[in-house]
Every structure is written in structure tokens, then in C-alpha cells.
């Protein structure tokens, strides 16, 4: 037998479904809610809001205690690399994008 016995796809049909929405929601006047941190794990707040004791942070804050009290330095998440979490502005300012992709719109081979 020269052919595969059984085929399953775990990803590709979902891709097609996402590419073939007939009309984006925003065109129809609807609103789209997107979490900017969709890869982040949720963390229970250390000091929850009195009115909502189950409120979660998407990103955990971190900071230091100084003579003037607590100073927040940033946020991190287990879903992101350590270098990203602790490096924030200095790292991000060193990253450039768009250096690939200018040659053509398809490889067509």
C-alpha cells in the first residue's frame, strides 16, 4: 500500500474557518473584544479589589520596597520569556521588525 491509512488534521480546518468569515464584525457595527495578553496566565491579585475579591491580574506585578514605600517596576507572566519579563523597555527598544518579507506576496513554486 502506497497511501496513508488514516488522516487527521488538528489545526488546518480551524485556520480555514478563521480565514473565511464573510464579514468582519466591526463592519457590521459590532464590537470585538480582544485580550492583548491572550497568552498570559491569570494570577489572583495580592490585594484584591474590595468589591470583587476574585479579580485576577493577567500579568503579575513586581517591584521593590524602598525607604519611600513600594515601587512597582513592571509586570511579568509565566507565558512570556524571562528576558522579556525583566528587560522591558531596554529590550523592546532594541528590537526591530519588518526586515523580512519585502520580496513578494507569495512563494508560488
Amino acid at each position: 500500500m502506497k497511501k496513508t491509512k488514516e488522516i487527521q488534521l488538528v489545526l488546518i480546518t480551524a485556520l480555514f474557518a478563521s480565514c473565511n468569515h464573510p464579514e468582519p464584525q466591526w463592519r457590521a457595527g459590532g464590537r470585538t473584544y480582544i485580550r492583548s495578553d491572550s497568552t498570559a496566565s491569570y494570577t489572583l491579585m495580592a490585594h484584591p479589589h474590595p468589591g470583587n475579591p476574585l479579580m485576577f491580574y493577567a500579568f503579575r506585578p513586581y517591584g521593590i520596597y524602598t525607604a519611600f514605600g513600594y515601587r512597582r517596576l513592571g509586570y511579568y507572566s509565566n507565558a512570556l520569556s524571562e528576558e522579556v519579563n525583566i528587560g522591558h523597555s531596554a529590550i523592546k527598544s532594541a528590537i526591530v521588525r519588518g526586515g523580512f518579507g519585502e520580496s513578494a506576496l507569495s512563494v508560488e513554486s
Binding site: T4, I12, T13, F16, C19, V84, V96, G99, V107
Partner: protein, 376 residues
Amino acid sequence: MQRFAIPPRNNWQQAVEQLGFGFHTANSPYWDESAYYSFSLDEVNLIEKATAELWDLCLGAVQHVIDNNLYARFAIPPEFIPYIEKTWEEDHPSIYGRFDLCYKDGQVKLLEFNADTPTSLFEAGIIQWFWLRDFDADKDQFNSIHEKLIAYWSFLQTYLHPGKLHFACVRESLEDLTNTEYLRDCAIQSGLGTELLFIDDIGWDKTRKIFVDRHDQPIQNIFKLYPWEWMMGEEFGPDILTDRNVSYWIEPAWKMILSNKAILPILWALYPGSPWLLPAYLEPDRLTDYVRKPILSREGANIEIRRGGNLIRQTGGEYGAEGYIYQQLFTLPDFDGRRPVLGSWVIGQEPAGMGIRESDSLVTDNLSRFIPHLII
């Protein structure tokens, strides 16, 4: 090899779309199930044998190019030569390639090798497999693409750097995206952690001198459906050479030797007795009936066919600046004006199946149709 006209399935568009095949029709159907090609098992065995042996010949040709420093024939920038040789000597991971073959009168001949960024993988591995299940499930097909992809991704796991395997393609092409996502689908099924990003989303961290993804995470293994000759010429091209992670780019850089048509004269010079090769040269005066091909070109662009000095076919395009090769004319077989070329897949060093694209002329271009096949 025979061609049979048949009625397409009712609602075939819906059938293929349910599989995730969104580019089945452009101005006319690209996926064309109004016909199929049939092969005997002996014919398929011959194609399979040719594919396996051609792969071996190609590996020998790469070594020859490296040993004899023939890069100038390939228009490869000199600064990339050490990197190419590093990826070859360190055996950086490679997953696939597609030989374009002409099968006629019992002969199999190599037309060219899409070694770097071959497409039509999804049509060959998935769409025609499901077509056969509907058409005649008991029949066989030269197609173990899917299981070989999963098996080889699994094999490569121990060879990859720690971390995810990223997948990148251009954002504007559903065809490219589907091929890339199909490969990622198989990688996921093999147990690999993956992430998709578009090629222009790749970041370069100037401080750390590494490539990063959209989350600023290091890219250490990346499948890219984007040709090396384009990458080398773009802004981030030189950064590949200073990348501190020495990321695995799949296909690896040494594949640019094989995807370049300058390999065809070298193959012929090395293996003139091979039954799978056509005479090919860098000079135009060695042949009377020949096809002139740019060493770097895509989709049948800038092809010129001459017979006895007379021009019989010519295509336009933007390629040719890097030079041409001249290959003995071996016309595609004629099935009432339809001319099929066989795309024979190598996955993980082994023949894995084939897809057939059919054109109305001697040159297979971007108007060709994908026709399914079966084994009788």
C-alpha cells in the same frame, strides 16, 4: 499512465473547503477533479525509485559544489558561503523537497528540484487523499506524505534546539499560509511545540543579536516558507550570519544550492549516465533542442524553448538577471492538449508521494491545475 475524464463530485467545492482548502479556484479551478491520472504499480515504483536515486545524486552534487567552491555559478553572495557550509557540515534539519519530473514513454526525467520552498504539499497530501476516499476508497495512491511528515517531525525533535518550532510565511497568500499551517499541523501531531508568525513579524534584537517572535521570545528553530535568495537580499539577511542562537532555519541554507537551476548542469556533469537526468549546460551552444531556464525563477517565468534554433515557446517574467542554464528539451506528455508534470515529494530523505499539475502548454505555470491520481 492514463488520463480519465470523470464528473466531479457534487458540491466538490464544499468537500474540499471542509478540509481547509480555500484556494481551490482562482479565475478557473486550480483543483480539478474533472479528471484523474491512473498509474500501474510498476510505474509508481519506477517514479519512487527515480526520486530516491535523484535525492542521493543531489546530495552528492551539493558536496561537489562545496568541495570545488562553485558558488559563483549560483549567484550566491560570498559572505553566505561559510554559513551554507556550516549548515551542511552540521546537518541542520531539513524536512522536504519536491522533484518536478516528466514521465513519458517509460522514462522519468528530472526537470528541476524545488528544494527550498515547494508548495502544493497540502493538495498532494490531503486533498487528493480524501478525493480518492470518495471516488474509490479501495484504490491505492502514491501518497504517504501525511504520515511521513508526522514521523519525520517526530524524528527531528531530538535534533532541534530547545524551545518552540516557529513557522513563518508571507501574510498575503492563503496558499502559502495553508501549506505552512499544514506542516505545522503535522508538527503538532508529532508532539512539537509550535507557533505561527508572519515573515514580517520576525524581529531582530540588536542588543542580544538574536531573532525574536511577536512575544519577543527567542526564535531558535524556524520553518520558513520564504526562499533563501529573498532572505539573503533583505534587511535581516546579514543578521542570520551573526545570530548568536545560530537558529535552525528549515529548509537549511545548503538547500539553496539544490533549489537553484544551476545545479542541473552540475548533476549532468557528475552523473551523465543517470537515466533520470537530462543533458544540461551553462552554455547555449551545446544543444539544438533545449529549454532555457533562469537559475532563479518561479512558476515557469522567463522560460524559452527552442527546437532546431527556432523559438517555439516563451514566457515572460522578471527573472534572468543571475543567468540561465540550458536543458535538453524533453516535452511533457500530451493528453489531448493537457500536459502533466509530476511533483514527486521527498520527506525526511525518502520518497513520499506525488501530486500532478497539468497545463495546456509545454510550460507549467501559475495557471496549471492540480489533478488527482490513483494506482490501478
